[in-house]
């Protein structure tokens, strides 16, 4: 009883210490007390708002983040303010405009970035990020390389920021937006905070467990020589990362009975504990996180911690540490085993909490949803890298680890659109990192995505086909690879269901083409169709709203399309729902994609059932064409009998093929509307002899 009482006191004391830190601004130096007045850097949050009502902008749907035409990062400022004339209409004034500026040029781990948010009453906001350099005293300039959201609010491409300050503190920032053929925009922001975002932490501990909320960085001899010795708290780590950390609760104790009879925690039990014990729990996005110190997960000693909250509509609000796992085992012969363990627990806590900010592991940066593949950081000395996975292991890692996040992680946490970072907002691993595409300030082409059938609404079960169109928007002829739009390796297509993570289309096949170039004259376009089912599965299947966006990768630039909205209608009845379970399968997707198979018989059975039971549906047209393909001509298969491979040729069954292809003749408009004109013309050409016979027979029949 006395022991558990002292453990309970320990977390309460640790939480109280962190709360006391809230009144002391943490700096990059381990100064235990900081004399007032503080010297504050120029970095931090500035805000602009105007309460007078002005003309509102129409509401615009939020697209997937779209990299914008602009100079590549690192190209430096343009120098001075450009006296440009607007060549495009400047955005109408906003009703109740509100803007934020995040300036990141000095202070803790400066990233030499400026970012902002532009919003107004009932208007989708816009976000931007610029690389900046210091061009004069308290003056920073650079190119905007990232835009997200309502792009009409940020047509400019350059930014100049002039900070006005007293000796001790910034007061305001005058920001001038130029370039992009848009009007010059000037904003006067007021300094608000040295931090970029707020966040609240609450810590609880399981009965019988002593938490570690801080670590003495000088307590273990294996450390960088330059690392100051200080009693570093979790809160201070995140304050230096750029968050205004507040601590709630007083360090509660969760009864071990809530872990069930085995006294080990399952994800469900931790999720329940979070809802019961976290004073800030609410199923909504907010900058708040619950961290739970426990003994063991049901997975056993191999799990040292986990961001367990990856279920439900609001992810990343809870995280746990398991102090009786492998993280309590210092290596044999370690000179300071107690300090080693404390350091490992402290590191793990900051690591798990980093996941709540949607940070992936350092070696996973190129996984998941991305516009452009990100580079992994397997050697990075970051909270998000496993110390024991780097060459030289834990010893090598901590010998030059400065208890911080990497620069790309800081960029993300400080400057990414907040919905990707904020707890409870974007799902875990969705937009965990972002990267600008290589978009030229003067693109030669435009790319558009349109529904093949011209209507954005598809029947339930109807496979979705879209057309990509690449147009030459220069006054000169342009060379482009002939098969560019038929080459998946040259494009990225992203599909996003409303409320779900974005998914990249991974096609079933890749083709190697002989290189031939086409000439696109000014204004001319090339087109091709894309079947939106691939190795990732049927990402457009359930009823609901989806967004599709594409990016074509040319040798020197990326061309990004505007997003296209698609709707899948609900099923007409139980029968459609029933067949959907078989239709939305990998094998059926392959048969449709490759226009038929004589091998994948279960998929063929499903497609045949679709044709027979739903003959008037658009999906039946797709199925019929795929079923007809293998019968339209002699069909070759490789028959495998042990080690013996033989070529088997099945004779065409043109009677069967004609019957299946009848929609192409009987209902050509309906067939073209669902297949898309490009594919309809392709099938018409491919099955031309058969279709001609059918027309002749039809004429003779009359």
């Amino acid at each position: 009883m006395a022991n558990s009482h002292s453990k309970h006191d320990a977390i309460q004391e640790a939480v109280a210490r962190m709360k006391a830190e809230e009144t002391i601004e943490a700096t990059s130096l381990p100064t235990p007390t900081i004399p007032l007045p503080l010297f504050l850097p120029n970095s931090g949050l500035y805000t602009y708002s105007l309460l007078l009502p002005l003309e509102p902008l129409p509401s615009i749907p939020t697209p997937i983040p779209v990299p914008i035409p602009g100079p590549a990062p690192g190209n430096g400022p343009t120098g001075g303010v450009e006296a440009t004339e607007a060549v495009a209409p400047s955005p109408a004034s906003l009703l109740l405009p509100y803007e934020e500026l995040r300036l990141d040029v000095d202070g803790n781990y400066p990233q030499m970035k400026a970012s902002g948010q532009i919003s107004g009453f009932r208007v989708t906001p816009a976000y931007w990020i610029a690389d900046v350099v210091k061009t004069a005293s308290n003056t920073y300039e650079g190119n905007i390389w990232y835009k997200d959201g309502n792009l009409s609010l940020i047509p400019q491409t350059n930014v100049r920021i002039e900070v006005k300050r007293t000796l001790f503190s910034p007061q305001s920032a005058k920001v001038t937006f130029t370039g992009g053929g848009a009007s010059i925009k000037v904003r006067a922001f007021k300094y608000k905070s040295r931090y970029f975002h707020p966040v609240n932490f609450e810590f609880d501990t399981a009965e019988g467990v002593t938490p570690v909320l801080s670590y003495n960085t000088g307590s273990h001899p294996n450390r960088p020589a330059s690392l100051p010795a200080e009693n570093l708290s979790i809160a201070t780590v995140y304050r230096r990362t750029g968050f205004n950390v507040t601590i709630s609760g007083s360090g509660g104790t969760v009864p071990i009975a809530e872990a069930g009879a085995n006294a080990k925690w399952s994800d469900m039990e931790m999720h329940d504990a979070m809802q019961i014990h976290w004073s800030k729990f609410t199923n909504a996005p907010r900058w708040a996180l619950w961290t739970f110190f426990a003994s063991l997960h049901e997975m056993g000693t191999s799990l040292g911690g986990i961001m367990f909250d990856d279920i439900g509509p609001n992810h990343r609000q809870g995280t746990s540490l398991f102090l009786d796992s492998f993280i309590k085992n210092a290596p044999a012969g370690d000179p300071a085993p107690s300090a080693w363990v404390n350091r490992m627990i402290f590191w793990t806590a900051c690591h798990e909490m980093g996941h709540s900010f949607n940070l992936a592991h350092s070696w996973q940066k190129n996984l998941g949803v991305q516009w452009i593949p990100l580079a992994n950081e397997p050697l990075e000395r970051s909270f998000m890298n496993y110390p024991y996975n780097v060459p030289g292991g834990t010893s090598a890692f901590f010998s030059d680890f400065e208890f911080r996040f990497s620069n790309t992680e800081l960029l993300f946490m400080r400057h990414a659109p907040f919905r990707f970072v904020e707890q409870g907002n974007a799902d875990w691993f969705d937009h965990h990192a972002f990267q600008q595409a290589n978009v030229s300030p003067e693109p030669k082409f435009s790319l558009s995505v349109e529904c093949a059938g011209k209507t954005p609404t598809f029947e339930f079960l109807e496979p979705v086909v879209v057309h990509l169109s690449l147009r030459n928007i220069t006054p000169h002829p342009q060379l482009v690879e002939q098969q560019l739009l038929a080459s998946p390796e040259h494009m990225t297509i992203v599909i996003k269901k409303r409320g779900k993570p974005a998914r990249e289309l991974i096609t079933f096949s890749q083709r190697c083409w002989q290189e031939n170039s086409n000439v696109l004259m000014p204004g001319e376009e090339m087109k091709d169709s894309v079947f939106l089912v691939g190795r990732n599965g049927w990402d457009i299947a359930e009823p609901g709203y989806y967004t599709v966006q594409a990016c074509v990768h040319l040798p020197n630039e990326d061309i990004v399309s505007e997003p296209v909205a698609i709707r899948i209608a609900p099923p007409k009845g139980y029968e459609e729902q029933h067949i959907a379970q078989d239709l939305f399968s990998d094998s059926a997707g392959r048969v449709l994609n490759f226009d038929g198979s004589r091998f994948l018989q279960s998929a063929n059975d499903t497609l045949r059932e679709l044709v027979e039971r739903f003959p008037n549906s658009k999906a039946a047209i797709h199925a019929a064409v795929a079923l007809a393909g293998p019968f339209a001509s002699d069909y070759k298969q490789v028959a495998v009998d042990g080690a013996r491979h033989t070529l088997k040729v099945s004779k065409a069954d043109q009677k069967e093929a004609r019957q299946l292809l009848s929609p192409l003749i009987d209902e050509p408009q309906k067939a073209a509307a669902t297949l898309g004109q490009i594919d309809y013309d392709y099938y018409h050409n491919r099955f031309k002899p058969l279709l001609e016979e059918m027309r002749k027979a039809a004429r003779a029949g009359r």
Partner: protein, 99 residues
């Protein structure tokens, strides 16, 4: 008797994975990696012989990898799927830890 513990780690997203030990199928499943810990599934085996051949395959993609493991003492094998679909087997004399 030494123990072989095989952890399926990164890159699994529900495809069928088959493990063979000395030619005998010992696991067939559809593991999914929890990206926040880089872990999907695990199996342990008691093996009498000082060596064993571990083969990992994903039948749908046709990828396969085999390696001979030294089982003179407890051994841990981490198996991952690389983004290009290839299989990576990483033996270790220490158990893997996940955070």
């Amino acid at each position: 008797m030494p123990v072989l513990k095989v952890d399926l780690q990164e890159g699994f997203s529900g495809e069928t994975v088959v493990l063979l030990l000395n030619g005998s199928e010992v696991y067939r499943g559809t593991p999914k990696t929890r990206t926040q810990i880089g872990f999907a599934d695990t199996r342990s085996f008691d093996l009498p012989s000082p060596q064993a051949t571990l083969e990992v395959s994903t039948p749908r993609s046709g990828a396969s990898k085999s390696t001979v493991l030294d089982l003179s003492r407890d051994l841990y094998a981490g198996v991952s799927l690389a983004p290009d679909g290839s299989i990576v087997i990483h033996p270790s004399s220490e158990p893997f830890g996940y955070v």
